[in-house]
């Protein structure tokens, strides 16, 4: 099996290493294995002392990103929401050093995120947006058996702990062929981080300054981004936007069938929406027919720019991957593309994609993807992407059109496929991914976790010293 993750992981460290990998949590840099299994566990802390005890117990088992390019079989990460930091007894001056968007949480930022209508927090699943989600544990592994072990270990820690309440366990796992819930190979294009120790893959784009993605390092403007205080809490940490989407597979299949008559046409339309064939082969390199060998090859499947396709006749300007990373596309607004990239850890849940699912009942089957969007300014970046690149078309001169895959579509929404001599505009595109909930988390460094776990003790020492 040849996957991006394995090939990328097999590359020896060539680019100089400038990050303190032993401090950064593994999930920040490690790609998910293939196949992958895991779970996101959401916890509430009812008692600060118990919460800190839990953090101390988990601490030795939270993996760092050291040698992240080598395959690993299982790892655990810990992320804490603002409400969680409060519940753990983080002091007020520290709490106030977090940005406003993080403090109020994802649900309260619904207006800035455009999470309205079906995506509004009032329609979210419990416990999202209730202020109860304090800790998010994520366990990743490459086999069902190891996943079971990691999870059993984690369960032991929180179940025997009065004052720690289990809110939800969300299992996830790879689908046959490592496809997402709409049947596409995904997770291909990740930002290349300067100083991370690994050469970028062909086409991965310019190296992005580490400070954009991990706190405590210079960002693209040459200075570090604002960091929570004290330093030990902020440095080598980062933020995670957790968003759970449900795929409306029936609506998606109905759309493909309504606007294409043969299977070939359907697959071409499916590719035009994303900018890649379901195999992962990009339209820029395979404009007319799919090329599964290309899709599979991590050294080739991302090795392109848009210089020869300024009008989007191969990859529509509004297709999903061109919106999420416009690369060298000429945008109508002055934009530094490097400032708006995120590390994504996509995890699929529920039954696999079914090409024959066309009923409205199929839309309600719980299946989709949970994304961890990771960056040193994840809140600002997610809001930017939602406002500018997902739920608007002005930046590419496409008026009100929205991202065909993850956009929240308005009534009678359109999707334009540029063609010679005249463009083809499809009417009636629907919302294919409904947001079921989300939270903002801080993913602290290992030293910061220790600092949080020992807050009480240090407090009492200070008192003694006085």
């Amino acid at each position: 099996m040849s996957t991006l993750e394995e090939t990328a992981a097999g590359a020896p460290p060539a680019q100089a290493l400038a990050l303190e990998l032993h401090e950064i949590q593994a999930t920040v840099l490690r790609h998910r294995p293939a196949p992958y299994f895991g779970a996101h566990v959401l916890l509430r802390i009812d008692d600060a002392r118990a919460g800190r005890e839990l953090v101390r117990r988990l601490m030795p088992h939270v993996d760092s990103a050291a040698s992240w390019w080598r395959p690993a079989n299982a790892w655990l990460s810990v992320a804490i929401s603002y409400a969680g930091l409060r519940a753990l007894g983080v002091p007020d001056d520290s709490l106030q050093s977090f940005s406003e968007a993080f403090r109020v949480g994802m649900a309260a930022r619904a207006r800035q995120l455009g999470d309205e209508g079906v995506n509004a927090p009032s329609n979210w699943e419990a416990p999202f947006g209730t202020g109860q989600v304090h800790i998010g544990l994520s366990a990743f592994s490459d086999s069902e058996e190891k996943w079971g072990r990691v999870l059993a270990f984690a369960r032991e820690q929180y179940e025997r702990m009065p004052g720690v309440h289990l809110l939800a366990v969300q299992d996830f796992g790879f689908q046959p062929g490592d496809l997402n819930s709409l049947g596409y190979k995904d997770g291909i294009d990740q930002p290349a981080i300067e100083g991370s120790g690994v050469d970028s893959l062909p086409g991965q784009g310019p190296l992005i300054k580490a400070g954009e993605l991990i706190l405590g390092y210079p960002g693209e403007a040459g200075v570090p981004l604002p960091m929570p205080q004290p330093d030990v809490l902020g440095r080598n940490g980062t933020y995670v936007g957790y968003r759970k989407y449900q795929s409306r597979v029936g609506a998606f299949n109905r759309f493909l069938r309504a606007h294409a008559s043969t299977e070939e046409e359907r697959e071409l339309l499916a590719a035009k929406l994303v900018g890649r064939w379901r195999s992962g082969a990009p339209l820029i390199l395979a404009p007319d027919v799919d090329n599964p060998a290309l899709g599979k090859d991590p050294r080739r499947n991302n090795d392109f720019d848009y210089a020869k396709d300024p009008f989007g006749r191969q990859a529509p300007l509004g297709c999903h991957i061109r919106r999420m990373n416009p690369r060298d596309t000429k945008l109508t607004r002055l934009t530094d593309v490097n400032l708006h990239r995120l590390i994504r850890r996509g995890t699929t849940y529920g039954p696999p994609y079914d090409a024959n699912a066309v009923s409205e009942a199929d839309d309600e089957v719980p299946r989709g993807a949970i994304f961890l969007f990771i960056s040193a300014k994840a809140m600002a970046t997610i809001e930017f992407l939602q406002q500018e690149w997902i739920n608007d078309g002005n930046f590419i001169g496409a008026g009100d059109e929205r991202d065909p895959i993850i956009g929240l579509q308005e009534k009678d929404a359109t999707f334009t496929i540029p063609r010679d001599p005249v463009r083809h505009r499809i009417h009636g595109i629907e919302t294919f991914h409904v947001l079921r909930g989300g939270e903002y988390f801080f993913m602290p460094s290992l030293s910061a976790l220790k600092w949080i776990g020992n807050l009480e003790e240090r407090g009492s020492i200070e008192q003694k010293e006085r």
Partner: protein
């Protein structure tokens, strides 16, 4: 001339039950106006009545500011350092209205720079598409120089590279109490696109007509 620099908060007007009540309230407030104003107000009553019946056009843009459709207003007032006004005037003279940075930004409808109060203050006013703060970092990495050279003499200006520049601008923003936009749904990008299409259509019609 003196300018009010406190934050203009167009606090939501008190809910008034009906149109007549609202107009009556306006009449009462205008009772103190010069006669010419009072007479004009009475002549305008039909128009005002229509306005009251229509839904308000303005919404909020970002944390401060008004938006109509896709266009937002953005007005800043700064205290200038000694000599700052002369430098700015000289720079604006050299530019002669050729703001290539603004062209590149692609969302700016207009900009005006006004020196106030014996050259001690700068008023900067613009209309632009969408929100500015999502793009503040892009300005910092893409066009820091045109902005730094324009605003360097504003008291307390931290420079485009500072992470505090967004907060600084926000703290000097004054919200308009009234604002009119002719084409609230036309962005700069859309206007440029329509201009191009219009020309192409004319060329086509010239050939066939």
């Amino acid at each position: 001339m003196t300018m009010q620099t406190q934050k203009g908060t167009t606090a939501a007007p008190k809910p008034i039950q009906n149109v007549e009540e609202k107009l009556q309230k306006l009449r009462e407030i205008y009772a103190g106006a010069p006669e010419l104003g009072r007479v004009a107000l009475e002549r305008m009553m039909p128009e005002l009545e229509t306005a009251v019946r229509l839904a308000p056009k303005a919404t909020t843009a970002g944390r401060i500011g008004i938006r109509q459709g896709k266009v937002s207003e953005f007005l800043l007032i700064f205290k200038l350092r000694p000599g700052g006004a002369d430098r700015l005037r000289a720079l604006l003279g050299v530019l002669g209205g050729n703001f290539q940075g603004a062209d590149a930004v692609g969302t700016v409808h207009d900009m005006r720079f006004v020196l106030l109060d014996n050259d001690t203050k700068l008023l900067f006013a613009t209309a632009f598409d969408g929100d500015w703060d999502p793009y503040i970092a892009d300005f910092s990495t893409k066009i820091p120089d045109p902005l730094d050279v324009l605003f360097c003499d504003c008291e307390g200006y931290p420079g485009m590279h500072s992470p505090k520049v967004g907060e600084y601008l926000l703290s000097h923003q004054v919200q308009a109490d009234g604002w009119y936009v002719a084409n609230p749904n036309l962005t700069v990008a859309e206007t440029r696109r329509l201009e191009k299409i219009g020309k192409a259509v004319d060329e086509f019609l010239d050939k066939v007509g």
